[in-house]
Amino acid sequence: MPEAVFHTEKLVKTYRTGGAEVHALAGVDLDLYASELTVLLGPSGSGKSTLLNILGGLDHATSGKVMFRDLDLTVQSDRALTRFRRDHVGFVFQFYNLVPSLTARENVQMVTDIAPNPMRAEEALERVGMSDRIDHFPAELSGGQQQRVAIARAIAKRPEVLLCDEPTGALDSSTGVQVLEAIREINEDLGTTAIVITHNAAIQAMAHRVVRFQDGNIASVATNDTRIAPSEIVW
């Protein structure tokens, strides 16, 4: 059995809106393993983003336990969570979240400036095939290009885990493939543990494991015996 990077027990997240309570996560038990590429699938509102945010230390759980290796994330202070994100986690968001006033290179430098052992911003951008757009501002890039800059920003610190929330959600299939290709390369070349949320069932074929969500809980976990390259995925 490979080493578990993330381990959750009875993880619950409850939102209180007005009078109603929403159980975004209703007691999730999950293990995620080192160097694995895991795809999270599930209908809208099933709790995928919520789980990813909690794993990445972006949000607090209501109850239950989240372990990152030996670190219990549920008991960490805000300051310690910040450290955890800075040292170990790379994020890719659905809406890119680039800083509009910084160029592609500078957006990546935002991370390399503070990470303990980063690669050069240029190298990260080269990995995602963005070398020729290095001094462009986000407004001058297409959606797919912005998402690739966001991935470069996420991998530049050589994170242990790469958390991607619908990285291809806003992209057409060929751009989407480029982005997925970048994620797979990081996973394979650097051994980075990657978790990718998607609505696109076709993408599961590239994962080591596939976790399906339903109403704040895990409906099923499947292991792919044979994986296919992103370029062979069609949707």
């Binding site: 007005g18 968001f93 006033s101 407004a139």
Partner: protein
């Protein structure tokens, strides 16, 4: 350079319009603080230096005529350091090329040919008169300048009925006449009033003062009790017709200058901090709102692993750049304007030099406070956003929950258009934010009203003083008190139409421990030229033996009609009586008390006397009249009410227009800073909403209406509050200006409110319209494509 630093600079550039708008508001606060402090300190330091270097006296006393040897007795009084005796007389002057008369105050110079030891004139040009000469004179520099005199020029003076031609040997400035005000006038007029320093021998022989003096000045030794010295001096001088000694507080020039400086100090210590506070509040609020917009970005920075400290520093620096811009603008303009204003005042007062010490502490304090307020505003918002879990900060704020309330039902009943509904809803959704904006704008209105009232007040003062109370054309001053028959001599002068006499008697009024020195004005019953006017503008007649006093006297001595008041005469038989306060009248200049001629002569058991004659003139005979009075020994001076009004208007109007201008600029900058930023922030916050409306088919103007409507609605709602605060601030201003020399009534006609509102609303509209253009340029596609 770090990526975050680049972001800082680029964000600053992106926000430059908004930053500049706030920076200017802050600059205003800093500038006013520096101007007020710098100016008042410069005048204070200059006055103190001039007084010290030129031995300004501590005590003054006048007598009719005292023998010289008395001086050694005065010098020997305990507490007296130096005593100096001199001869002092008012002279009627005939200046070349000037038809109207002028008045000179002649002061004797020591026989030794040296300068006096007290109130030492500072020689500006030429030399002192020769002590033996009988036709040489040194004049005060402003008088020489106003009349275009050069050293060696001559003019004529009427001395004891004899015309003498005097040659100017030099010019000087004196600490005694920093504010040189002639007898019977309200404002300095250097053309018609001069100080003449003349040899002792010449003055003494002309006025029968050989071996005698009629003026004595003292300096006190350290620790001396001024009131004890004054009392002892009064006792010594009483047999020689002493009219009561006084200290610096009642020396005319000093009283005016110190009052003025005190007012500046009040202005420096009350108002600028208020304005600074206002600007700090606005800056804090606006910066807070701008940074609140960066919430998603703050979430992102946290997600990427930046610490709270990093993030706080980043936004504090962003706000800090704005604050630094404001502080630098404020420092530069404040430093310049302080120096400029101090220079203007130094000219207005006759200071030989200006000591301007840079008030580093004022710079440091204003800079520190400005940076602090900006930083606190930024920190509050940045830390608020940083306290959120990044996942929450990065997701767009949940759509505000609009509730259906009673108000909503009321609004629906009004059948407003959808855009109007949006305006009202958003107002009720963020009532606090709307309230703060409204408060900010109301402060701008208030600032304008609080100084705007001055011009109305001054007009009302001038109207009461010159058009209603003193309706004569000319006041003729007699050399000494005369019987009523002197009026017949005046009536005989060419061009005289009406004549009325008045008597001025120096007294001390007392009510228990409270006392004031002033002059009682005695008038014939039913006088029509010089009259007393009450608050409602009615003429107040004194009936019976009582004393009519002015509002200021009533306030200071806590007297009301019907109260008894003790009156000690400071001249003649120096008797003390108890009179009844017959009424209170409005008078804005100086202190005053009035009696009828019958009552006064009954009280003093003597025939009625007069010391001035109020005259109306046939304008055609003006020249003949002027020529005639220059040769009339009876008369020591003539005060022209029209000239006085003109010089009053000129002096005051300039000051007021500078103040009005300054504070209008402040109000305008505050309005711009607030509305421009509010509009820009609104636009950022609601870009998606407004773009959606455009996509749905609303026109540019319909969409703009939402933006303009909300801000202008707040601006309109702010007006009544602004009027109220302005009224209060105005009262504060008026109260801080009140002194024994003059009081300023609160006169606030609707026009004052209207002007302030029109300026602020107009500025607000212009600022929003500037932002509105951005709606035309709104890139619908990109707004909808990107996340909020």
């Amino acid at each position: 350079m770090h990526a975050l630093d680049k972001k800082l600079l680029r964000d600053f550039r992106r926000l430059w319009g908004q930053s500049l708008a706030i920076a200017l508001v802050l600059a205003c606060g800093v500038m006013i603080l520096l101007t007020a402090f710098g100016m008042y300190r410069a005048l204070d330091d200059t006055l103190a230096a001039f007084y010290e270097r030129n031995e300004f006296a501590d005590v003054w006393a006048m007598t009719e005529k005292a023998p010289r040897p008395l001086l050694s007795e005065i010098s020997a009084l305990p507490g007296v350091q130096t005593a100096e005796a001199r001869v002092q007389e008012y002279l009627m002057l005939d200046l070349p090329g000037r038809v109207k008369s002028a008045t000179g105050l002649a002061l004797s110079l020591p026989d030794t040919g040296a300068l006096p030891t007290l109130n030492v004139p500072l020689l500006r040009a030429g030399r002192l008169p020769d002590p033996q000469a009988s036709d040489e004179v040194m004049v005060n520099e402003p008088f020489a300048e106003a009349n275009g005199f050069e050293i060696g020029d001559t003019f004529e003076a009427l001395m004891s009925g004899q015309k003498r031609r005097l040659t100017i040997t030099g010019t000087a400035l004196s600490p005694e006449f920093v504010y040189a005000i002639g007898p019977g006038t309200l404002m300095p007029d250097d053309e018609s009033f001069g100080i003449l320093w003349m040899p002792q021998a010449m003055l003494a022989s002309a006025f029968d003062m050989s071996g005698a003096f009629n003026s004595v000045t003292l300096s006190l030794s350290r620790g001396a009790q001024e009131d004890q010295v004054i009392e002892a001096l009064d006792t010594l001088l009483e047999p020689y017709g002493g009219t009561g000694a006084h200290g610096r507080d009642e020396q005319a020039s000093n009283a005016f200058v110190t009052t003025e400086i005190k007012q500046l100090k009040n202005m420096a210590t009350i108002l600028p901090p208020v304005f600074f506070g206002i600007s700090a509040f606005l800056v804090n609020m606006v910066i807070g709102r701008i940074i609140a917009l960066e919430r998603a970005e703050i979430g992102l920075l946290k997600a990427l692993g930046y610490t709270d400290l990093h993030i706080a520093a980043h936004y504090v620096l962003l706000a800090g750049l704005t604050a630094v811009l404001g502080v630098v603008i404020g420092w530069v303009t404040g430093g310049l304007s302080a120096r400029w204003m101090a220079g203007e005042y130094a000219q207005y007062f006759k200071f030989p030099y200006l000591i301007f010490n840079v008030s580093y502490d004022a710079y440091a304090i204003s800079g520190f406070l400005a940076l602090l307020t900006a930083a606190v505003g930024a920190l509050r918002s940045a830390m608020g956003a940083a306290a959120l879990p990044p996942a929450v900060a990065m997701s767009p704020p949940a759509p505000p929950r609009f509730k259906r309330s009673l108000l909503d039902r009321a609004l629906s009943a009004l059948r407003l258009s959808q855009p109007s509904m949006m305006i009202w809803r958003s107002l009720f959704r963020w009532p606090l934010r709307a309230a703060f904006s409204a408060i900010g704008l109301s402060l701008a209105v208030a600032i304008m009203i609080s100084v705007g009232f001055f011009s109305y007040s001054i007009n009302s003062i001038a109207d009461i003083a010159f058009n209603q109370s003193n309706r004569e054309d000319i006041v003729l001053l007699f050399t000494k008190e005369r019987s009523l028959s002197a009026l017949e001599d005046v009536r005989a002068l060419p061009g005289v139409m009406e004549v009325e006499g008045e008597l001025f008697t120096p007294v001390t009024l007392r009510n228990g421990p409270l006392e004031k020195q002033l002059s009682i004005t005695t008038r014939g019953a039913g006088a029509t030229l010089a009259r007393s006017i009450n608050e409602t503008g009615r003429v107040v007649e004194i009936d019976g033996p009582g004393l009519l006093i002015t509002t200021r006297v009533a306030e200071v001595l806590r007297l009301a009609p019907g109260d008894p008041v003790e009156v000690e005469f400071m001249s003649g038989r120096r008797e003390t009586y108890t009179l009844t306060v017959a009424g209170v009248t409005e008078q804005f200049f100086g202190l005053g008390a009035f009696m009828t001629r019958e009552a006064m002569s009954h009280l003093t058991r003597s025939a009625p006397q007069i010391s001035v004659a109020n005259v109306t003139l046939d304008p055609k005979e003006d020249d003949a009249f002027n020529r005639a009075i220059k040769d009339t020994p009876l008369i020591s001076g003539a005060v022209r009410v029209t000239d006085m009004k003109a010089s009053f208007d000129a002096t005051v109007e300039e000051n007021i227009s500078i103040m009005n201008g300054l504070f209008s600029v402040v109000a305008i900058l505050i309005t711009v800073g607030l509305t421009y930023n509010s509009a820009r922030i609104q636009l950022s916050e609601r870009a998606r909403e407004l773009a959606s409306l455009r996509i749905l088919g609303f026109s540019n103007w319909e969409v703009s209406y939402i933006l303009i409507g909300e801000i202008m609605l707040i601006a309109v709602l702010a007006q009544p509050l602004g009027w109220l605060i302005g009224y209060g601030l105005g009262h504060l201003m008026a109260a801080s200006f009140a002194s024994d020399l003059y009081t300023i009534p609160m006169v606030l006609p609707p026009a004052a409110y209207a002007t302030a509102s029109v300026v602020v609303l107009g500025t607000a509209l212009a600022s929003v319209l500037l932002v509105r253009q951005r709606i035309d340029r709104l890139d619908l596609v990109s707004v909808m494509k990107t996340r909020e």
